[in-house]
Symmetry: C2
Subunit: 210 residues, 2 copies
Amino acid sequence: MAASGKTIERLSVYRRLLSMRTFSEEDYVYSHELARMVSGTAAQVRRDLMAIGVTGHSKRGYRIGPLVEEIGTLLDDPEGTRIVLVGAGDLGRAVLGFMKGRSSALTIVGAFDSDPAKAGRVVHGYRCRSMDEIEGVIAAERAQVAILATPADGAQEVCDRLVEAGVRGIVNFAPAPLIVPEAVWVERVDIATALEKVACLIRGVDETTM
Amino acid sequence: MAASGKTIERLSVYRRLLSMRTFSEEDYVYSHELARMVSGTAAQVRRDLMAIGVTGHSKRGYRIGPLVEEIGTLLDDPEGTRIVLVGAGDLGRAVLGFMKGRSSALTIVGAFDSDPAKAGRVVHGYRCRSMDEIEGVIAAERAQVAILATPADGAQEVCDRLVEAGVRGIVNFAPAPLIVPEAVWVERVDIATALEKVACLIRGVDETTM
DNA sequence: TGTGTGTTGTGACTTCTTTCACAAAAAGGT
DNA sequence: ACCTTTTTGTGAAAGAAGTCACAACACACA
């Protein structure tokens, strides 16, 4: 029942893609169909599903219902995951838009911005609050995860406050490295790097490598 | 001179971090300093720098100026990389904000949205245009890269148009898989997956794994 | 000049991830 | 009942990425 980070990412994608289309109780999906959806190989899909103990059916594939459910038991905290968002700029708003009307496993329990002018404003249905309140909200809601969508300067300072307040995972959109205790997981989402990588790879800099 | 995708990502980060602080002609940086900045190991940094042929100096480290420059010759196209952005929602605006006032190696040459109401509007200094114009702009500007910041539905259709028009790399923010010819590079940036991954990993689901 | 300290460059090793390839299973036709 | 086809499950091999450990080097200071 060991699932590596890479496997977790792909499982998340499988589930999303399967959930997008409607399926009935008796629908099946083949490993090669999932593979095509994520531009991977069938063997890799089977390995991923093996990692969560899902077992398929020769000649018919995997039953979609139980598969989606099993991915859920791995990915979703049965208590729910409560998330605070810091930074209500364009990026923060984009994330709020993404979250709106999604499944209940992930819940935004507060949106914050250091700009007092933004406090009280409502974005995508979430009321933006002052940074003063953040420790209180994290404690009261028992938020485990934070989304850091601030500019680079000040990111570390905000991060320290989040960690101090009890957050154990951070999705970091700020183009800055974060220094955190070992017990805290940081997942970096780096837009500038993604762009530079694509710009670099489409030139024949190294055709053989991913 | 082989640089893997992972190495390219880290090089991009090293450069950004080094460029942020001012440095003089004779400033040096140690591998372990860079390592701390990206939460990696010194050996890994040295390997990365070895991959681009940068050589350091026992006891003093790496000269920052030449290092930044050498990373540039790997990452930056000397002709510049011209980029179109599709989707002027929150996310598209966030990306435009990021790009504004950055180095000249990457240039946004057009922003587009399928919503005719957005056409003509100016976002972060970029005028949003109608999708009708996109093929023309890509051809006229010889844009090589596209940023796809649309909702999931319709992403594939837009992608097909981009590829047909000559784009060779895509940064895909849409939570949908894209099917492209082999010659086109897609870099997926998946916000929902990043969140689910963090939410999963902070639970002790698999303490030993990244 | 010599000794001590701290850093690079890299071969060897370890660990993680993906792919290969094939036996076993199951469905369908005859 | 048997043969054909297609798919799963997985051991084994290959490949990629990261870490270790140490010789070689360079500076500092006596």
